[in-house]
């Protein structure tokens, strides 16, 4: 363990949509303390109206996302011992600030509504016997279903963060949502048109920042976005497929068309 420090100089961004600034607080450090503990200590002792979201405190709910020394992290999973005697916390930059560390993430919920849900075949829906699926076949979907919706990947994605292109790109979180549905062995809907148009998978240029910040270690780019890009290319930009489509073949039930 790093050298024990007794006091932490914790700078927390305080403010709202009109602006704000870092405020310094001195926090007594306990063994094993995480950043969220320090923030909650400030709330209970020095700044009762300090706004922060949190729930499980065990990295399972994805509520306490913030930028610790500028890096997107879950505060409940970030030990203070990794930082030394000073650190700063600010809200996620990609979303509008509500107050202090709380941001308005409602855009994500709107995007989620636009993705057609899991759709099994009529035959599967009415089957009298429970489905049989092999572990190997469900594992790919499972990886993406580990997502705790902390939105750190959305926060770090430069398409959303620096270019504010929320109108044309759903962001990494919803790429893995689409991938999870597309790769589910019993789903029969084709979401490729959605990917190409509204979801905007083409906007991702594979910098892998999302993968780097994912607290669940989901291989967002390699296992979801790249296969989705390939799928779209296959359907829309493969010359043979293009020609067949002109001839009216290969048409499938497609969402968003």
């Amino acid at each position: 363990m790093a050298a024990e420090i007794s006091d932490l100089d914790l700078k927390i961004w305080r403010g709202d949509s009109r602006g704000g600034e870092y405020v310094s607080y001195v926090v007594p450090v306990r063994e094993g303390m995480v950043v969220l503990d320090a923030v909650l200590w400030v709330q209970a002792n020095l700044a009762s109206d300090l706004a922060v979201r949190w729930n499980c405190k065990a990295a399972k709910c994805g509520s306490c996302s913030a930028e610790v020394d500028g890096f997107p992290r879950l505060m409940c999973k970030t030990p203070i011992a990794d930082y030394g005697a000073a650190l700063s916390v600010r809200p996620m930059k990609t979303f509008p600030v509500v107050k202090d560390l709380v941001t308005d993430v409602s855009w994500n919920y709107e995007v989620n509504k636009q993705i057609p849900p899991f759709t099994p075949s009529e035959k599967d829906m009415t089957a009298s016997e429970p489905w049989r699926m092999q572990q190997k076949d469900v594992e790919r979907s499972m990886e993406f279903r580990k997502c705790i919706e902390c939105f750190l990947c959305q926060d770090v994605c430069h398409v959303l963060r620096d270019h504010d292109s929320k109108r044309v790109f759903y962001g990494p979180r919803f790429m893995i949502r689409i991938a999870e549905l597309e790769m589910h062995p019993r789903d029969v809907l084709d979401r490729t048109p959605l990917l190409k148009e509204k979801a905007g998978v083409g906007y991702c240029n594979i910098t892998k920042c999302c993968t780097e910040v994912c607290p669940e270690h989901i291989h967002i780019t390699d296992n979801a976005i790249i296969p989705l890009k390939e799928r779209m290319d296959d359907v829309y930009f493969d010359p043979v497929r293009w020609a067949l489509r002109r001839l009216g073949r290969g048409a499938k039930h497609r969402a968003g068309e």
Binding site: Q43, G62, K113, F118, P130, R145
Partner: protein, 588 residues
């Protein structure tokens, strides 16, 4: 009208809480064709259900072919020390397999057996491997599946980060609720034809807990205040295994799945001490027994360096541990710098679950107040004196659906309630009480009072209780209650996302839960399940059929004993039948 203005929102069915029970109920009520509004304290998808790790119990008999609803029923009743509502236990055991399969048809992805069926793992006090699971994140899978279903169910809407502070009645039946938005403190008056509570538990009234900030027992408190009966409030579950070290993470849950997958408990001398407490079932005994065993080991000076015992799964292969218990592996590595594939974990009991809660009708979830329904942890009955692991997720699904149908049926047959006249003075006084701390910001800090409640409960209502301690705890809670009614906000008067003010508003819920727990525990003069008393260490057969019911009266809270109707003969036979022991075929 004297207080600040409020917005009025009308719906058919109002559901408080967006955990598993609330979401499943919303789907059922939405599918019945009604307008449904879910109101939750946090963001959608963050509810405490995500913390459920080990699995959902259902007699699917995919791993043990002998498993049936009868065995599941018998396990649940025996685990609950026969204090359960037998009809709820029967419905639960019969319906949970279908609820799990339905979840799969909605897109949930469970771990599989080699034959491609849903895999089931062994768990404490379940005769057969019964817990359908996804690694150790079953709750997240369940919640996410229901969340996606809700989003695409017509007629269902969600209000996030809104806290309800009062249920409103008209002519003795539920007609609405008063709430505030966390983001800006603005007020909403909900009007509804019927209301379902799915607010979860009250674990936050203890210091060491696996529960989050929002588990302050709001549903039980709101129901109590509206005149509903609370049942079995003395029964709170200590989960045997919470993290103990470092101090900052004390209380965080360590899934029973660790023991389900073969983990063993040892004291500081390396002894597998469960041998002495339950040599038949060992680590997979029921939670009340394992929690007390750990407590006894630590009290006897045989604990680990930080006041717990050792939970060891290092005899399993590292790949096996990482695939079956991925979030446990990650949690210990990150928060305690312990690699569970090579080192034992240190664990101790942590407050986990409330078996007691709102007294409900087994079939519909109806409380004793017309128009008020409850499902999930906030409702009492299914688990009796001790809940088996895995029975909570199945509870949410089975009684979420039933409660949703019940509340929808009521709303359909009684639509005028949503437009009935409310007592203006009642609304005004609720607003005044809610706003009061903002008028005296510098009065006593709500954070300080919250800690006092937690310390009082941890000290006077621990795993093993006694009459004198419970009396002292009750006195302390009543005294804190008096101060809480005059508390401030911690210093700030802003309406904008002000957690100090929100905490002040939560105090009254915690205090009602604490008082009901202590009063009921004083009445139960025996040791049964999760309720252990050093002054009455034995089980009293006569109390097996007695439940303690708390109710609001003009003179304050009153707890009375009530006899349950006897179990019908066919269920009695099911409980007392003996079932073949499970012998696993080695396939790994």
């Amino acid at each position: 009208m004297t207080g600040p203005a409020y917005e009025t929102v009308e719906t058919d069915v109002l559901i408080l809480g967006a955990g598993g029970a609330g979401l499943r109920a919303a789907i059922a009520a939405g599918e019945a064709g009604l307008r449904v509004l879910i109101v939750c304290k946090s963001l959608l998808g963050k509810a405490h259900t995500v913390m459920a790790e080990g699995g959902v119990a259902a007699a699917l008999h995919n791993v043990a072919y002998q498993d049936t609803w009868e065995v599941h029923f018998a396990d649940t009743m025996k685990g609950g020390k026969m204090l359960n509502d037998w009809r709820m236990a029967e419905l639960h055991a019969k319906e949970s397999p279908e609820r799990v399969l339905e979840l799969e048809r909605w897109g949930a992805v469970f771990d599989r057996t080699w034959q491609g069926r849903i895999h089931q793992r062994p768990f404490g006090a379940h005769t057969y491997p019964r817990l359908a699971h996804i690694g150790d994140r079953t709750g997240l899978e369940l919640l996410r599946t229901l969340q996606d279903r809700v989003v695409h169910t017509r007629g269902v809407d969600v209000h996030m980060e809104v806290t309800v502070v009062k249920l409103l009645k008209s002519d003795g039946q539920i007609a609405g609720a008063l709430a505030y938005r966390r983001s800006d403190g603005s007020l909403i008056l909900y009007r509804c034809a019927a209301l379902l509570l799915a607010t979860g538990g009250a674990g936050k009234m203890y210091r060491v807990t696996s529960n989050s900030w929002e588990c302050t027992g709001d549903g039980t408190a709101l129901a109590y205040d509206a005149g509903a009966q609370l049942r079995d409030m003395e029964m709170v579950q200590f989960h045997p295994t919470g993290m103990v070290w470092p101090a900052g993470v004390r209380g965080i849950l360590v899934t029973e799945g660790v023991r389900g997958e073969g983990g063993v408990l040892r004291n500081k001398d390396g002894e597998r001490f469960m041998e002495r407490y339950d040599h038949e079932r060992m680590e997979l005994s029921s939670r009340d027994i394992v929690a007390r065993a750990i407590n006894s080991e630590v009290s006897a000076g045989r604990g680990s360096p930080h006041g717990g015992v050792f939970l060891d799964i290092t005899h399993r292969k590292p790949e096996f541990i990482k695939s079956k218990l991925p979030s446990m592996y990650e949690q210990f590595l990150k928060l305690a710098k312990v690699d569970i594939t090579t080192q034992p974990m240190e664990v101790a009991p942590t407050i986990h679950y409330a078996m007691g809660g709102v007294r409900v009708d087994a079939e519909t979830g109806a409380s004793t107040v017309p128009g008020l329904y409850a499902a999930g942890e906030v409702a009492a009955g299914l688990h009796g004196a001790n809940r088996l692991g895995g029975n909570s997720l199945s509870d949410l699904l089975v009684f979420g659906k039933r409660g949703g149908e019940g509340v929808a049926c009521r709303a359909r047959s009684n639509p005028q309630a949503a437009r009935a006249k409310l007592d203006e003075r009642e609304v005004d006084s609720a607003i005044t009480a809610l706003m009061a701390p903002l008028e005296r910001p510098a009065a006593e800090s709500p954070y300080k009072l919250q800690v006092e409640i937690q310390e009082t409960m941890s000290r006077y209502a621990p795993i093993v209780r006694d009459g004198a301690g419970l009396e002292a705890g009750l006195e302390a809670i009543l005294e804190i209650g008096a101060r809480a009614r005059a508390c401030g906000t911690g210093g700030s008067t802003t309406l904008a996302f002000n957690p100090g003010w929100h905490t002040a508003a939560d105090l009254s819920s915690m205090l009602i839960n604490a008082e009901a727990l202590l009063r009921s525990a004083l009445e139960r003069k025996e040791s049964r399940g999760a309720h252990a008393r050093s002054d009455f260490p034995k089980l009293d057969e006569a109390l097996a059929e007695v439940n303690f019911v708390a109710e609001k009266t003009p003179d304050g809270m009153v707890v009375k004993a009530e006899k349950r109707p006897p179990m019908p003969a066919y269920l009695d036979g099911v409980v007392h039948q003996s079932y073949a022991r499970y012998t696993p075929e080695e396939r790994e």
